[in-house]
Symmetry: C2
Subunit: 199 residues, 2 copies
């Protein structure tokens, strides 16, 4: 892919990420929530965002919903479609980090290889948070009624049913989203951000 | 494309664009600089950004350089590649507006139809700024040595040489970047932002 951009010359910005972080009063990182559909990724991400925003931080939550309708509306849910989806999200997050924003991403992102590519792109700014919740519990919640549709064969490539989910091997944080209260999960994320000196 | 996302349910964010704009103390808009290569789009965008940033605004400059290496590294410079490039940029800008950032975009964006699609997506947040500069002057500058390569046939689909540039019909602002000093151009952009009550 590099060759396509060979006639592109880098332009040095005068306003840097460091200056923006200084203005914001916090570091920019990516909190990458991964887990099955229904494991609570979006709920936790939005709740953490609200806490951070109230503390004056610049934040944004990306989820399958707001990205799939826009930037990635041309992609399907096949393995290659999902990989390209994750690649674009990672590249977009990289630019949000440049803006000094704490980017919270809530995507199933079922494949280790795809998440590993994000880690390679973002380096130490990538914080992988595994929302651990059994398929039984997720399917029991079935907030969107999609597990039922998947069981009925009305949706193809549904993670956990007809498509694999690969658990993180060394996530930065594991949240037991099957049994822990929401407040406990939020507290753990905020605590990690303090330990890592993000906020 | 809608059908691909039919099983995606919108998630209501608790932190809204309005709250973020309030925190930032300014509105979020997109300053879309269009014009030939060498017409000064990036230079002006970065200079305007620096002024805005010094005034405490949240800003970011997107240009062919930082986007072509990342988000759009899989696209070529054919007409369809350029259109998809512009589509993705517009969708990304839409998310930056949600974050409350003044997004400055510096892309040749040669086709009216592509820019019209951005306007339709972003509505009144889209401010089209035409960097008007003759091909002669742009080619004379040839900062990156690309016009020469294009004349020699070493680069295909080069705007102004082997690919068309369609001037905006009703841009929000025209900058005479062929003869006006940089400071004049910056002042005009800042003045427009004040008139539109962005800052």
């Amino acid at each position: 892919m590099e060759s396509l951009a060979k006639n592109v010359v880098w332009h040095q910005a005068a306003v840097t990420r460091e200056l923006r972080q200084e203005l914001n009063g916090h570091r920019a990182v990516n909190l990458w929530f991964t887990g099955l559909s229904g494991s609570g990724k979006s709920t936790i991400a939005h709740a953490v965002e609200e806490h951070l925003f109230r503390a004056g931080c610049r934040t944004f939550v990306f989820d399958g919903d707001n990205v799939r309708h826009g930037l990635c509306s041309d992609l399907d849910f096949s393995e290659s479609g999902r990989s390209e989806n994750i690649r674009r999200i990672a590249e977009m997050v990289k630019l949000f980090l440049e803006v000094g924003v704490i980017a919270l991403t809530a995507f199933i992102s079922p494949l280790r290889e795809d998440r590993q590519r994000v880690r390679e792109l973002l380096g130490e700014d990538f914080i992988e948070i595994y929302c651990q919740c059994s398929l039984d519990v997720c399917e029991g919640r079935d907030v969107k009624g999609l597990y039922r549709k998947a069981r009925e064969g009305k949706i193809q490539n549904y993670t956990g049913i007809s498509s694999p989910y690969e658990e993180p091997v060394h996530p930065d944080l594991v949240l037991d989203t099957g049994t822990s209260p929401l407040e406990t999960c939020i507290a753990k994320v905020l605590s990690l951000l303090k330990t890592r000196q993000v906020i």
